[in-house]
Amino acid sequence: MEDIIKQLKKLQHIEPDRLFTERSRAALFGVQKSRGTWGLILRNVELGASFALAGILIITIFGGFSTWRFLSPFKLSNLDTTGLKAEAQAVDVQIELTNLNYDEIINTVNLESTESVSALVKNKGKSAPLPLFEQEEGNVTEGSVTEAEEISDTISIEEALEMLAK
């Protein structure tokens, strides 16, 4: 009998788990445990992400989104025939350059624009041969091409030497 009483007295020292007590108390009184700094940041990020997703959804629905457009990347840049034609023109001008003499090619070395080179190539024959070094470096304009036409009596080094040898 005495043993039973001892056992019951021991039971008086039994306590619930601390975490369980806190959670149960919070549940009963509707009190939330205050979060730490990280918790606050996380909460803000969650909120921001929710707004961003909502925004994207609204834009997707009302902004005329097309899956076709999205899945065809070439539509934006590769189907640009103007760029292709410009590159093709540059190749054609380069072909014309192969028909020039070596000394005439020097005149085109510093020309960057296709139009300038093209004008110079077309000018061949009108003022043949083209005078050596008559253009300012990297700056041949329509004006200087006209200038080339005006200097029609310019001769090459070979022609000059032939005349001097007579």
Binding site: W68, S72, Q94, L132, D153
Partner: protein, 256 residues
Amino acid sequence: MKLKRVWVVGIFFVLIGLGIGNLARAEECILNKSVFEGLQQTGDPQSYLQKIRQELSLRKELISSVLDCAIEEASALKTSVDASSAPELQRIALEISTLLGNSMEYYKFQRKKIPDLGLEGSRDFASDILVWRKGNYIPVAKTASNIILWSKNQALMRAAKSRLDQIGGAVTILKLIENDRIQNKWKEANISFDAARLENKSAVQSFENFAHPEETLASIKRSLEYLSKTYEVLVNLVDEISKLTSKIQQPYENSF
């Protein structure tokens, strides 16, 4: 006050720029035919001896001008070769650059002989330089201009390759390769580009084998012609794709 200072500094630099520009113009080399034709009509001399002296003086002056032009020409070519050589042509470009430098030295050496020339000697002198130029300088100069052309072509080759890759990617993504017309054009573009690349490589071989400059130039030209053909096909191909995609795209766009 600050604005005024900026204006003054700006005008200063513009004036310096103009000065440099004029200096460059002064170095330009122009040989006028009329001056050389004047060799036969040296004014109205009082005596035969005076006529000889006058003609000799003019000849010496003109030979000097021609040699100056030749030096300038070789120098301009050398600068361009040094600047434009692609890694594939590094060795040959270096050799051509050295040969152009040697040519410049030759012209400078010949120039020193001018004061001692007589009338007949000046004719022979001009003739000898012409023969030397045709035999030695012109092949080197032509190779140099081929190097410049080839080097410039590499940017065009890269641009075409990039276009092929872009359009190829689009054709694959949209499964347009199943369309016969597209498939044929796509194959044609690739065949032309491969041929352009082959000729481009063949030009490098010609450079390395010291082939005749005309032979190298022919390879360069063929390479460019194939490249031009590639672009022609690509433009048609892109037109076809545009037509096709606009047909497919319309129902999609109408649905939104």
